[in-house]
């Protein structure tokens, strides 16, 4: 049996520096082998000890399971301790990671695009070359989802019907007139008035 593929770890913000150097009289002229910190290990340390998230939330932010996150975190603690005690340099590089890139929106040709080259800022739309671009909030919404549903939410108590909003479960909506939980129209258990 082949093992499961390693899931790519999501990095929200890459480190601002490439590494760290120790200093002191004992270390002059002694090039010690640096400790290699992976990007995913840096991110685990940042989420856990800088942003003060717990392992559960941090693992969700990186797109891995909680036990995997704990293993990554244990490894970074061990590596940093080794660098401190042995007076080694730390370099941050490598690892199976991807950098989460945000979405941009061009108002001239109404397209959405992302910027996978995080080091360079985008100034023009890649499609029409216009400078009328801005950050898009969230992911671009699907045009099909919105167009395809003509479903109705219905109030089981007073029979009020509202157009169903995609992505919002009917059971979480309350009727504006009598504050009963809404149901999807046409589903079993829904009393039709």
């Amino acid at each position: 049996m082949s093992p499961n593929l390693k899931r790519p770890r999501k990095i929200l913000s890459p480190p601002p520096v490439k590494g760290f150097k120790p200093y002191g009289p004992d270390l002059d002229g002694k090039p010690a082998e640096p400790v290699m910190l992976l990007f995913e290990e840096y991110e685990a340390l940042r989420l856990c000890d800088y942003d003060m998230l717990n392992h559960h939330h941090a693992s969700q932010a990186m797109g891995v399971s909680r036990p995997t996150f704990t293993r990554i975190y244990a490894s970074v603690r061990q590596k940093i301790a080794r660098a401190f005690v042995e007076g080694r340099q730390i370099t941050v590089e490598g690892g199976k990671v991807y950098f989460d890139s945000g979405w941009y929106h061009c108002s001239s040709c109404s397209c959405y695009f992302n910027n996978p080259e995080m080091e360079q800022a985008t100034t023009a739309c890649p499609l029409c070359g216009s400078n009328a671009i801005g950050k898009a909030e969230g992911e671009p919404v699907s045009a099909f989802e919105v167009a395809d549903t003509n479903d109705l939410c219905i109030c089981p108590a007073c029979g009020l019907e509202l157009l169903h909003q995609p992505g919002q479960p009917c059971g979480q909506q309350t009727c504006p007139s009598c504050h009963t939980r809404m149901r999807r129209k046409g589903t079993p258990g829904c009393r039709m008035p």
């Binding site: 790519p8 797109g63 397209c111 695009f113 499609l127 070359g129 699907s142």
Partner: protein
């Protein structure tokens, strides 16, 4: 620089296909030579994993950007790690020839 566009047919008059993995044709447009290549998509009627399979096919041609109407859930992280830019165009009724014209303006 090479740019992939998803197409519903094999001519510049055909419309942009709004699906990425199961589009009918891929158009690979080379901005330096101005050459276009139409590749039929073998994963058009695939039951599952049409997106990742199409990504493999497209990246083997060394494209830098992909224009489509919609990208599936499995696609963005793979393309992010390969530094390929995604362009999502939701306007209906836009032809391949028009997109290539727009791309030429952007690169001037």
């Amino acid at each position: 620089m090479k740019i992939a566009i998803t197409s519903t047919g094999n001519s510049p008059e055909s419309l942009l296909d709004h699906r990425f993995g199961r589009c009918a044709f891929f158009v690979v447009y080379d901005t330096e030579s101005g050459a276009t290549e139409f590749i039929p998509n073998p994963h058009k009627n695939a039951e599952d994993s049409a997106g990742p399979a199409s990504v493999q096919m497209i990246t083997s041609r060394k494209v830098n950007k992909i224009v489509s109407g919609e990208f599936g859930a499995k696609i963005k992280e793979t393309l992010d790690s390969m530094k390929i830019q995604l362009i999502v165009l939701r306007k209906p009724g836009i032809t391949i020839g028009r997109i290539i014209e727009m791309l030429n303006h952007a690169n001037e």
